[in-house]
């Protein structure tokens, strides 16, 4: 049950994701964006960072990386696909999640803990949490403001306050099947008590749970 953690040029949270998943008993390996198959993996994480330097729009160039076709197939097959921060932006650009991410309302980068509330537990990233559960995890983004012109996106985690202007205070959004989820704050930054919070475990545990064959 191995997770592919995709590395684009400019990605920078890949090692953190591997560390956090391994600490929780999972197994994760880095996969370069020019790879074209994910056959030996059971799930995918697109980690945070600045793929292609965020040139043009965040995620706009990364979505054309060769690996993304495999990620799409994965998503279609109902396998778990999670994008964190920049990974969320890439999934939106790739059309695997609805909406798009634009600059924060106050046009400034935000790196701090935020409180979020789980509103939908029917996804690969939230199944081990309880509806209404409040968690504290770090946000770290400039383009964290999710807009959804269709108004039909499925919001599964919400900020309890409104740090960045995101529609419906969305912190995480899922596809209809619940196997593709994008989350803006970083669960992997909140898994070790030494660093201040372990609330991110609820999300990563959900993800690991979803790998157990039914």
């Amino acid at each position: 049950m191995t997770t592919a953690v995709v590395v684009f040029p400019g990605t920078n949270c890949e090692h953190d994701v591997v560390t956090a998943m391994t600490d929780l008993g999972g197994s994760a390996r880095l996969v370069w964006h020019r790879k074209t198959d994910l056959d030996s993996y059971d799930s995918v994480v697109l980690p945070g960072g600045f793929a292609h330097g965020d040139a043009l729009r965040t995620g706009a160039i990364a979505r054309f990386s060769p690996i993304m076709e495999a990620v799409s197939r994965f998503a279609d097959q109902g396998k778990p696909v999670v994008g964190i921060c920049n990974g969320f932006q890439i999934l939106c650009e790739a059309g695997l999640l609805p909406g798009a991410l634009i600059a924060n309302r106050d046009l400034s980068f935000i790196c701090r803990y935020v409180d979020v509330e789980v509103t939908d537990t029917g996804t690969v990233l939230t199944n081990a949490a309880a509806t209404g559960q409040r968690l504290r995890i770090p946000l770290n983004s400039y383009e964290g403001n999710w807009v959804d012109p269709t108004g039909e996106g499925r919001v599964v985690v919400k900020y309890t306050d409104d740090p960045n202007g995101s529609s419906e205070r969305a912190a995480a959004v899922a596809n209809d099947a619940g196997n593709v989820v994008g989350i803006m704050p970083h669960p992997e930054r909140a898994t070790d008590p030494l660093l201040g919070s372990t609330d991110g475990r609820a999300f990563l545990r959900s993800f690991l749970n979803s790998l157990v064959p039914a």
């Binding site: 400019g10 920078n12 949270c13 090692h15 956090a20 965020d54 980068f109 790196c111 770290n140 660093l195």
Partner: protein
Amino acid sequence: MTEQPVHRLLGMTDGEYESVVGILDRPPMPAELAMYSVMWSEHCSYKSSRKHLGRFPTEAPWVVVGPGENAGVVDLGDGWLAALRIESHNHPSFVEPYQGAATGVGGILRDVFTMGARPIALWDQIRFGPLDNPKNRYLLNGVVGGIAGYGNAVGVPTVGGEIEFDPGYTGNPLVNVMCLGILKREQLVLGTAGTPGTMAVLLGKATGRDGIGGASVLASASFDEESGAKRPSVQVGDPFEEKKLIEACLELYEKGLVVGVQDLGAAGLSCATSEPAGRAGVGMEVDLDRVHTRESGMTAPELLMSESQERMMAFVAPERVDEVLAIADRWEIDSAVVGEVKAGGTLRISHQGDLVAELPAATLADNAPLYDRPAQRPDWLDEIQARPGPDLSSHDPADLLAKLLDDPAIGSSAWIYEQYDHMLFLNTVVGPGSDGSLLRVKGTDKGLGVSTDGNGRLCYLEPRIGGARLVYEAALNVAVAGARPMAVVDNLNFGNPEKPEVMWQFKESVEGISEACEALGIPVVGGNVSFYNETDGVDINPTPVVGLLGLADPMPQDPPRLSGAADGMELWLVGPAASGNLAGTAAQRLIDERPGGIPTGPDPEMAGDIIRLAADLAHFAPVLHDISDGGLAVAAAEIAIASGIGVVLDLPAEEIFSEDPHRFLVAFHHGSIDLPAYARKVGVCGGDQIVINGSSLRLDTAATTYREALPRRMR
């Protein structure tokens, strides 16, 4: 305008030009003149400061690489090393704050990963004029934006720093950045060209006309009304390119593919060819036509002087060159084999079939001019030191505390550090917003404590005491995070060295830093000098900045935090009794129009004991906080605000706002900790007020004032 000889336009004196003619035994060709002019600039050659920098203690058993290389390297034990370096980008940040600060970050990162280390954290030290001036707000905004824009995107967290305001920085802000990297011993790489036959491979960004003359013109001359004319030199940072370059270089080191590496900073290719060759005692043949360029028609001097960012020169054995090029290709960075190392010490550079330079490589660094500039104690200093301190008797302590919490240099810097990714890599155990940073070294029990400290006002009043106090303050800051001081880097920001008063301030500061390092038994492993920080003839306060690295082995598993105070805990002061001298304090800055007096000097012996004690206490005390800007009152208020609990202080009047050195506060439940006899109980935690000898301030008001001090001025 009268015709000037070219060497003068390039910032070279007639005497320096004559030396070049002497070395070559003929007049230099244009490309040669360009190379000497950048390499012999103040910024690259340290010609005014070198003599004094020799004063620093630089040796200790744990020093692996001392000053002189791109970064200092120390041994952390168990096969781990740390690389540390600090750098200034003052003048470029005034010209263009965002790009100036951004390229400063890019440059300091390269200094560290040149050594084979992975950069794991950055710290910024920034200084501006008062924020009621819109220009200063613009500069602060741009500088913080540039550090955030580059640091966040390159993927290295900025985990702390410091900020100071003083009218003297209005026309000359200071932007310093420090970077820490870690590496396994076998990955250490030096800036050497290796043996004859080694190939020089240029990696990274295409070369353009960026910052031509930047080193000699921007970093080494003063600002005046014409500085607008210097603007074409502005460089643009590209953190994405740097990120790829870091990963590619780290892979090269891991696979043992390079003999040596040199980054291209100020002086670009001139430096990256001559310095590694000089260090290895070899020569080199370089073909400029192979350099990948962004613009067409660049001349040889332009190619040699360009400061285009995000470039590295790797020295590679010929049979490994293909592997190196393949790795560069995989990381999607450009590369070119531009030269070959030759025996004999001559650097030969050709361009479009012509030999454009032929000179002894080592002379660019080794024969740089060395000035023993006159130094003289300023005659205005007596008058300033004789001024009486502020009179606090007519001030209510709680009122004064409220005003201090509203000082943007004392109030929370969250507005700054929340724009920085300060958590990446999952190492930040104690992050910004307390004293020193504490970073874990994953896979070991070790932690690294780091603090950077500067104080222009103290150094203005008495540079030797000021310099020494910076070291003690930084040492105590890392100690309260559980680390023992290990090594120092310094960044010496001063005015015009051609003025004897400035040279004296410089010399005295170096002396103070050196004495304190000797007393603590820690070496200086690197640094940087920035002179000519003056505007229209007025020099900045002498502003040395110290960056100190400490080792916590083992690292406290539950280190003290400002937020650790609880109802009923006692607050104790550890350190000498306050002298009552308020020279150079925040209280003085609030009350008196101008600083005056002589700041309290350190007690080196006691300081050592106190620093050791703090590092021990950090393994079990819930709260430790050193006393600095704003004195005990502010330190106690910071604990109260962070912990969300009031505090009642009862203490002698001269203790309240004293900033006497090497003193700290510790909070704990009665009887849980034994302290030495000189420690005194100064208060108790509880309630919803901060009470100082009966006068009180509501905790929620204090918290709002503290949080808003900076952001409200930036709106």
